[in-house]
Amino acid sequence: MAISPNSFRTGPDERGHFGIFGGRYVAETLMPLILELEKAYNAAKADPAFQSELDYLLEHYAGRPSPLYYAKRLTEKLGGAKIYLKRDELNHTGSHKINNVLGQVLMAKRMGKTRVIAETGAGQHGVATATACALFDIPCVVFMGSVDVERQSPNVFRMKMLGAEVRPVTAGSSTLKDAMNEALRDWVATCENTFYCIGTVAGPHPYPAMVRDFQCVIGNETRQQMMKAEGRLPDTLVACIGGGSNAMGLFHPFLDDPGVRIVGVEAAGHGIETGQHAASLTGGRPGVLHGNRTYLLQDKEGQIIEAHSISAGLDYPGIGPEHSWLKENGRVEYVSATDNEALEAFQLLCKLEGIIPALESSHALAHVMQLAPKLPKNNLLVMNLSGRGDKDVPQVAARMGMKIES
């Protein structure tokens, strides 16, 4: 049985571990770089000038704080919990990804790096990175699986407009994990001048902690906004999980509030039972990939199994190591939603609230649709609306058998 720690917010330890998860499983060539980054990040955290520059950008460039919006019609329709949407889809570039990217690109600048690389799945992190690199005039290369290049073409074009080079990756399953492999391969060869801007709370230490810290602005704002709106903390938090950065950003500031129930929603693809899904926590087991130990989709021997999700941003066979730890100690509940459930949720939010959600965030909403009706009306539920769905319109239209006329 897992023993509850005094606090759920003190991780990782000095070696980058959350319990048995996390760590630094990287090639030796990268180790000194990762240690240098850790040192630089610790210095930045202690530097008020760094935080104030980041705060300025978050407010005036990204448009924070994002609203905490009471979704009245959705609440009435579901007939249970009072549902608030944390509107991170309103950020500049259309998702929560910009929160982390601004922090990391400031780190790149601080460390004197002259080139930035990133991996992307749905393209949201790629777009955010290309945006910040345009702003700071830093050359940017984004690795993207060729399957994702196909299904997220609007974002590919956006990245190119912003001056980034998009490199399609055809190795392996040609999705997010392969993009990450390729970014790591580039980084090994270019580490002296290149900063690797990882898009989620995964990878070798210090990335999971650093990305989490940059995303915690979501949860910190939510606390204040909910206190202002309702005079108390929320009762329930729900967010979708691929690598898990939007979820960690919302969850982490509430981990030590025992009254707050926290639920992460993974992508169940065609259904967990079909084996074609991206739910590492529900259908995987601990393993080592991409620099950290975490829950992974893998076969008996440890070969990685390709994930499946309608949402390119959730289509990853792993998850951030802190989520693995939070699953094992039971602080956070992890559930899943299928492609079809997400599509249904996507359409519901469009019609009821006039908001087109990202397919990623639609997974969180799919679970809210099941959970909210079972909760009392005074249960304050916050769902992180982590991204907007404009990028998904062509894909959803095709799925619904509709043609977009130009």
Partner: protein, 277 residues
């Protein structure tokens, strides 16, 4: 004394450097892969690295990635890799040539580090080179490897400075592997001067032999490395010879195995042509 230590002692007595050859286990299929393994010592390999294919080989370039995919498609597994080594020891009677498994840590972790070490030792494996297990995480494997009598060869890179080297060396046994370029396998090559400088630097910190790899493709390059290091490691270029021996449909041509051996002989001639003090 381990097979690896003995082999390096013998090389020293012979006043020459060694040739370490990498091949991917199960590439292009189990049968041909075994034929290659079996003939490596006669072709001039002093130590053998047997790659364990992994779906996500983050430190490898296209040649070794493709070799791993061919092998996985043909059904390679960890058990079958151990069986290859077992069969090699039994059928060839070669009890001197060290065999090291090279790959990624997840395959070790899934079997359980302790069981993996025991099974490997029982099969006749002498050492591990695990690309993604730096000294920071090596504690979870090292005690079991020591108990099973398996050497752990850690990697050092041009980015590994003098301050960090002792940490790497603390977990290394058998030899220490210097990755001579910044990058993945099979891409760029280091200059002889860079190899010399780094090997001298590493040798100031350790008595262990130093093997140098990444980017060695020609007998001349192998000879240049042999002038300064205790061994030259060649991988991608050998694996490319395997690929060259496949027809358009991926079926092995009759000259595949002889082609691989001819290439290794040329490399071995390069290495053996260098006399050392």
């Amino acid at each position: 004394m381990s097979r690896i230590a003995k082999r390096f002692a013998q090389l020293k007595a012979d006043k020459r450097a060694g040739l370490v050859t990498y091949v991917t286990a199960g590439d292009p299929d189990a049968d041909i892969s075994y034929q290659i393994l079996k003939g490596l010592p006669a072709a001039g390999a002093d130590l053998i690295e047997l790659g364990m294919p992994f779906t996500d080989p983050m430190a490898d370039g296209p040649s070794i990635q493709l070799a791993g995919q061919r092998a996985l498609k043909a059904g390679i597994s960890v058990d079958k890799t151990f069986d290859m080594v077992k069969r090699f020891r039994k059928e060839t009677g070669d009890n001197e040539t060290p065999i090291l498994l090279m790959g990624y840590y997840n395959l070790v972790y899934q079997r359980g580090a302790e069981k993996f070490c025991k099974d490997a030792a029982a099969a006749g494996v002498d050492g591990f080179i695990l690309v993604d297990l730096p000294p920071e995480e090596a504690d979870e494997l090292k005690p079991y490897a020591v108990a099973a009598g398996i050497d752990t060869v850690l990697l050092t890179a041009p980015t590994t400075d003098d301050k960090r080297l002792p940490a790497v060396l603390k977990y290394s046994s058998g030899f220490v592997y210097f990755v001579s370029v910044l990058g993945i396998t099979g891409t760029s090559s280091a200059t002889e001067e860079a190899v010399r400088t780094h090997v001298e630097r590493i040798k100031r910190h350790t008595m262990l032999p130093v093997g140098v790899g990444f980017g060695i493709r020609t007998p001349d390059q192998a000879a240049a490395v042999a002038r300064h290091a205790d061994a030259a490691v060649v991988g991608s270029a050998i694996v490319e010879r395997v690929k060259a021996g496949l027809d358009d449909k991926g079926k092995p041509k009759p000259d595949l195995v002889p082609g691989v051996f001819a290439y290794i002989r040329a490399l071995a001639d390069g290495v053996r042509g260098v006399r050392k003090a």
